[in-house]
């Protein structure tokens, strides 16, 4: 990752070179971050916990999408893939506990993702956007078709429980944090394996990657499978959190939000922190617009039911601003801060 290393970062062993943390300061920052997340449920109101859980769920999807986009395999079907995961969970959660339901949901989503992703061998760059747009609508239609006999297409998910023990808010919070941490650790490692390097090569030019010995069929299928698995797990988690899922929870617009705000604004190629920042952006903008409309609507009645529209405008402006001002995303800002503190207080 660190191709050009600024002064102040000194690596003396291979082990140090491979470490995720470059300096002791980063250990401390990470430790404080984790500690705050662990203590938060005892101090903050439940409203914030829900927001953090949503951020965790969306960041998992965005991690997979980020990996896929890094290989220049653009996908706008990830909301639908989350839907596959969520509906699979909703259908089987009454029979099996969550630690079976979640992987099954992930595998289902991965299979669907590979099915719609395999044309990527023939379809390139933005043509792939078209085919995944089609995939999104087809999956959405299939979800509606499966649930056509259920009023409102609403399927109930069993509450989160294991062997008769019901999970409370606190247990759910810690469980989701743990899952997110594991998924983040895995995706960070994938970036350094041959798979992750093949992703970067395919992103540059897939013909050239093929000449260098990258098996395109295998690696593109794996990229879609991993990405789909992440989306499925996230969808499953969301399904348990909502308690009831409908196809309307996974609209086409959400796919664009995931790609546009999640990946591009968050930071393409920064699998962990870019994804988390993108996810934070999605949730924070949603909450802020809801609050803003609630505060302003007594004075401006025409604002009434348009939180949805206001949110779209904010997303649009944020994407446009990021593309013009900081094309590498918020993760790059974070990197700049990190670099500044590397040599603090005597930076150059």
């Amino acid at each position: 990752m660190a191709s050009s290393r600024p002064c102040g970062v000194i690596k003396e062993s291979y082990r140090a070179d491979m470490s995720f943390f470059e300096k002791p300061f980063h250990y401390w920052a990470m430790g404080i971050f984790v500690l705050v997340l662990l203590i938060l449920p005892f101090t903050a109101p439940e409203f914030y916990l829900d927001a953090i859980l949503l951020i965790a769920i969306f960041s998992i999807t965005i991690m997979g999408l980020n990996l896929l986009t890094q290989a220049h395999l653009f996908s706008v079907m990830h909301a639908a893939l989350m839907g596959i995961g969520a509906f699979t969970t909703a259908f089987i959660s009454h029979q099996v506990p969550f630690f079976i339901a979640m992987p099954v949901a992930g595998i289902m989503a991965a299979l669907v993702s590979v099915f719609f992703g395999l044309p990527s061998l023939r379809i390139k760059v933005f043509y792939l956007l078209f085919s995944t747009t089609a995939a999104q609508f087809i999956i959405e239609w299939i979800l509606n078709w499966i649930t056509r006999d259920i009023p409102g297409s609403a399927v109930y998910t069993a509450p989160l429980a294991v062997f008769g023990y019901q999970f409370g808010v606190l247990e759910q919070y810690y469980l989701y944090l743990l899952i997110t941490a594991v998924m983040a650790y895995l995706i960070a490692h994938i970036g350094r394996t041959p798979l992750g390097k093949a992703m970067v090569m395919m992103g540059e030019k897939d013909y050239a990657a093929q000449i260098q010995g990258v098996n395109l069929l295998k690696f593109k299928a794996m990229a879609f499978a991993i990405s789909g698995f992440y989306a499925g797990i996230a969808g499953s988690m969301w399904s348990y959190m909502l308690g009831l899922v409908t196809p309307e929870h996974f609209p086409f617009l959400m796919s664009w939000e995931l790609l546009g705000v999640g990946v591009i604004v968050g930071g393409l190629g920064s699998y962990v922190w870019g994804s988390i920042l993108g996810s934070v952006m999605i949730i924070v903008v949603t909450q802020v617009t809801t609050e803003l409309v609630a505060v302003l609507s007594p004075y401006m009645p025409w604002l009434g039911a348009s939180a949805f529209g206001l949110r779209a405008i904010f997303y649009g402006i944020i994407i446009a601003a990021i593309l013009i001002l900081e094309p590498e995303g918020l993760a790059n800002l974070l990197r700049k801060v990190k670099r500044y503190f590397d040599l603090w207080p005597f930076s150059y």
Binding site: H72, R122, F126, K205, S306, G309, I313, G316, A320
Partner: protein
């Protein structure tokens, strides 16, 4: 006889898909920008025509609606200048993903603005029932709704004038030059910025016309934006992404497939007609990714 009616309906509906595809293809041909916002441009057009014809400047409802379209188009020219200047121009020469995401941002802003301004209630054009009577027009054995007559007339008008502009005038020549090689065109004294701005203007006007027809068929809601995107992409793809003539043909073919195959299948699997354009899109992508008249790109390592 039923089949004949389906074919006529399909071709009539296809004209408006062709107009939307033209809007999409033009941006791609000249600026090499994949315009995902095309559906939202259609939506904005429908609402602007609704707003301007709601002013009721003249008594006759037909002329009122046409005046609304003209005023909306003039407003669209201003938006086109803003789009080109503030969103697209900072990104010229950057990666294709950045350009696509910028059109996504444009689409979000346009759609959000219409929702904030007009809400999510279903609306119809003022004087809808006088202009587009609910009883279809009978020509011999075939019944055809009045909306499609507008669609055909509008498509002929905009396609005729566009093709004349593109093929016969000096302006069209400059446009084609920029689409071939922007730098070489610039050295010959063509202002690329102006050409891009004019391209966006034509795209907006075409999208607004489509907004009038789609809004009259489905009523004006956010749905129009998805319908627009869903029809414009496959139609543009069938004809080839950089061929304006192919866009019209693609639109007609898509309309035909939707109204024949779609209607027949719909009897067996209810609701499948909604996703027929996407299935067509997938098949075209797999069989002939560069379309019927598109330029085949040869990639070098």
């Amino acid at each position: 006889m039923v089949l004949l009616e389906m074919i006529v309906m399909g071709l009539a509906a296809g004209t408006i898909y062709g107009v939307m595809a033209l809007s999409f293809v033009l941006i791609y041909r000249v600026g090499k920008i994949v315009n995902i916002a095309v559906g939202d441009m259609v939506l904005l057009g429908a609402y602007l025509i609704f707003a301007f014809s709601g002013l009721a400047l003249v008594q006759n409802p037909v002329i009122n609606l046409i005046l609304g379209l003209v005023l909306a188009s003039i407003f669209g020219l201003v938006i086109a200048v803003g789009t080109e200047r503030f969103l697209m121009r900072p990104l010229y020469g950057q990666s294709i993903l950045s350009l696509i995401m910028m059109t996504v941002a444009l689409g979000m802003i346009l759609r959000g603005a219409t929702i904030v301004k007009w809400g999510t209630v279903l609306r119809v054009f003022p004087g809808q029932h006088e202009v587009f009577p609910p009883i279809p027009l009978s020509i011999g054995p075939i019944e055809i709704p009045y909306v499609y007559l507008w669609s055909i007339a509008g498509a002929i008008l905009i396609f005729g004038s566009f093709l004349y502009l593109f093929r016969k005038t000096l302006f069209g020549f400059a446009m084609r030059a920029v689409s071939l090689d922007p730098e070489a065109a610039a050295t010959h004294g063509i202002s690329i910025k102006k050409i891009y701005t004019y391209t966006w203007m034509i795209a907006y006007v075409a999208a607004f016309l489509a907004g009038l027809v789609l809004g009259a068929i489905n009523g004006i809601t956010v749905i129009v934006s998805y319908l627009g995107l869903a029809r414009a992409l496959p139609a543009a793809l069938i004809g080839g992404l950089d061929s304006p003539g192919g866009a019209m043909l693609g639109g007609l073919l898509l309309g035909l497939i939707e109204h024949t195959v779609g209607t027949i299948l719909n009897a067996y699997i209810p609701g499948i007609r909604d996703i027929i354009p996407y299935i067509v899109l997938l098949i075209v992508l797999l069989v002939k990714p560069y379309g019927l008249f598109g330029t085949v790109r040869i990639e070098r390592v």
